[in-house]
Amino acid sequence: METFNVFDVLLGNNFLSALISVVLPLVFLVIYALIAILGELKISAWIQERLGPMRTGPYGILQPLAEVIKLIQKEDIVPAGANKLLFNLAPYIIFAGSFAGFAVIPFTAAFVPAEINIGLFYVFAVGAFAVIGIVMGGWASNNKYSLLGAMRSASQMISYEIPGALVILSAAVLANTLDMQKITSLQEGGFWNWFLFGGPGGFSKIWILPFTLLLSLIYMIASLAETNRTPFDIPEGESELVAGYHTEYSGMKFAMFFFAEYSNMFIVAAILSIVFLGGWTSPFGSFMSGYWWGIFWFVSKAMFIVFIQIWLRWTLPRVRVDQLMYLGWKILLPFALVCFVIISLYRIIY
């Protein structure tokens, strides 16, 4: 399918089309965050044999809205002894870091806010931004729990970015591009063309099939650690660090942290679905394939991965900080490296 930005075509490449391209993902993000919060509440309730929220609206579907309104009303507390500038800046830096990733996420063949040829690299670069915000928030809070949480978070996110980046590198080698639209277009024609199953190509891809499966698993684990979700929610481990780096935050600033977490969840789910699950392409060849269907496929694939993240959160205990480092450096990284080497060899041979 031909890829283009629909607003550039309709309005020409001007300021207005750029503005719409930026605002649209933000609107999507707000709606998605509300749905994901409701999903988190309801899925956790189903897993735990509860009902979840039932009073706000039918079956409690207005609960996330009520929570947002509550958070806006809350008093904005800056603790005594906090570094005001850094303290106030941190939540917005974190959110900016995760929202910037949306710039290169192709929602459908006809819409990507910025089609740049180093999309995957860009997502990783701006994703690392969040660490700065977390360290800033943790340091500026003037709280020992926050500081411990921030230190843990910095080491964790940096360690897990490396296996994650190796996975993406392997995929880039396989696709021969870093452009998200091109990677997605390559996987058109059915689910057997997904990079999860070795990508497009003849029967010879059977050689790399186990490795691409392994790579997607590695990315899934690494992305959980990057978004600070259970079983890797060590920076905000409730039973140890109260709430980690955002212990001292309240009101809208806390909401920004929360928003950034959900935004990050979607970003990693989107990368996983674009790189391994074919993004906006239909899993059944030309059946249900088109520009509008593209949005449906992409969002439902990403949301399925978000669902898995929520599912895992309410099932697994938390790992310890040294076990997390062990897993990252001694298990995921070597496996990712092996897969990378084998996929590179495959590319050279075929």
Binding site: S44, E49, R50, S239, E240, L316, P317, R320, Q323, Y326
Partner: protein, 383 residues
């Protein structure tokens, strides 16, 4: 999993401070109002000092100004999640002072209630232990089951947490007609949930990694510190007062003493202490089933209650196997209707004293898990 190597670095050259962290009294996982003064070297715990007294309610002094029967509600409030088990040693101690014999039916109901409460207590212990390790869902499964047990208590005694049900010489009232069926249904439900919990939590790889080889309490240290209950049995010492010196009618039942064997790690680690509680639930179920089968249907539960409790001069110490360990009451009577002195020997207090010993050198996250595995209740520690 990993062994920590001692690096050959001269740390005295590097000017670093250890961090002093106050954990509690308002911290999500101090199990009440306990304050831990923790000294951290990075993430490694170098020292822990527990500070207690935030829940002190002068139980022992109040008891001196109350009738013997009036003390029972205060006893309830010591270990408020296993109140039935608290009442048992106190009423038996007073009955001993009086030289009283209670009817058969009372003994059976007391045992059934105490064992039901033991199950409820262990369910909370395992649930909060899981919570400390970061697992939220098993917590709610166990609390759901505990709710069913509390319903039985509510039907039988009117209270969910604090019962005032065991009286000197008898019970506050007889059990309700469908009591036996309700209890047997609960036993079935508890066993079913225990299977789920084993799959979901106990044998989960992450959970084993978090709890095995952590907070190892060797048997000799446990005995030296006077630990009791699952703490002691987790270290492999098969000591249970229900077997060692059977009180009430415990000698009539067939049950085993589960001990920690170091199945996934070292004997006496956190996992062992937890599995002991898990298996004690099963043993309690067995005791309840046998007691329900043997329990006489007829009998007046209040026939032996004395009009006035005025024991002769003397003193008595009586101890029972509380879910948390050995709970003893030392009562001195000077012949009046109020006790001259009541001293409670609280298992949680003794068990907590071993915390600094077993948590040095572990990570901060481990400290929380170790504290969870001790299963303390602050109402009992501060009294």
């Amino acid at each position: 999993m990993t062994t920590r190597k001692i690096l050959d670095i001269d740390f005295s050259r590097i000017d670093t401070d250890r961090m002093r962290l106050n954990v509690g009294p308002q911290h999500p996982s101090t199990h009440g109002v306990l304050r831990l003064e923790v000294e951290l070297d990075g993430e490694v715990v170098t020292n822990v000092i527990p500070h207690i007294g935030y829940l002190h309610r002068c139980f022992e002094k109040i008891a001196e100004n109350m009738n013997y029967q009036q003390v029972i509600p205060y006893v309830d409030r010591m270990d408020y999640i296993s109140s039935m088990n608290n009442e048992l040693p106190y009423v038996i101690a007073v009955e001993k002072l009086l030289g009283l014999k209670v009817p058969e039916k009372v003994e059976y109901i007391r045992v059934i209630m105490a064992e039901l409460n033991r199950i409820a207590n262990h369910q909370i212990a395992i649930a909060t232990f899981g919570l400390d390790a970061g697992a939220f869902t098993p917590f709610l499964y166990l609390f759901r089951d505990r709710e069913y047990i509390l319903w039985i208590f509510e039907k039988a005694t009117g209270g969910r947490l604090l019962f005032n049900y065991f009286w000197v010489g008898g019970l506050a009232n007889d059990v309700y007609p469908t009591f036996k069926e309700d209890v047997l249904n609960i036993v079935k439900q508890v066993r079913k949930t225990n299977k789920d919990i084993e799959e979901l939590l106990i044998y989960n790889k992450i959970f084993i990694d978090r709890t095995a080889n952590i907070g190892v309490l060797p048997a000799d240290v446990a005995i030296n510190y006077g630990c009791s209950g699952p703490m002691l049995r987790g270290s492999g010492v098969p000591f249970d007062l229900r077997k060692a010196e059977p009180y009430s009618i415990y000698d009539r039942f067939d049950f085993e003493i589960p001990v920690g064997k170091g199945e996934v790690g070292t004997v006496g680690d956190c996992w062992d202490r937890n599995i002991v509680r898990m298996r004690e639930i099963e043993q309690s179920c067995r005791i309840i089933e046998q007691a329900i089968a043997q329990m006489p249907d007829t009998g007046d539960v209040q026939s032996a209650i004395p009009k006035k409790v005025r024991p002769p001069k003397g003193e008595v110490y009586f101890r029972c196997e509380n879910p948390k360990g050995e709970l003893g009451f030392y009562i001195i009577s000077d012949g009046k209707d109020k006790p001259y002195r009541v001293k409670g020997r609280a298992p949680s207090f003794v068990n907590l004293s071993v915390l600094p010993e077993i948590s040095r050198g572990y990570l901060f996250a481990d400290l929380i898990v170790i504290l969870g595995s001790i299963d303390i209740v602050l109402g009992e520690i501060d009294r």
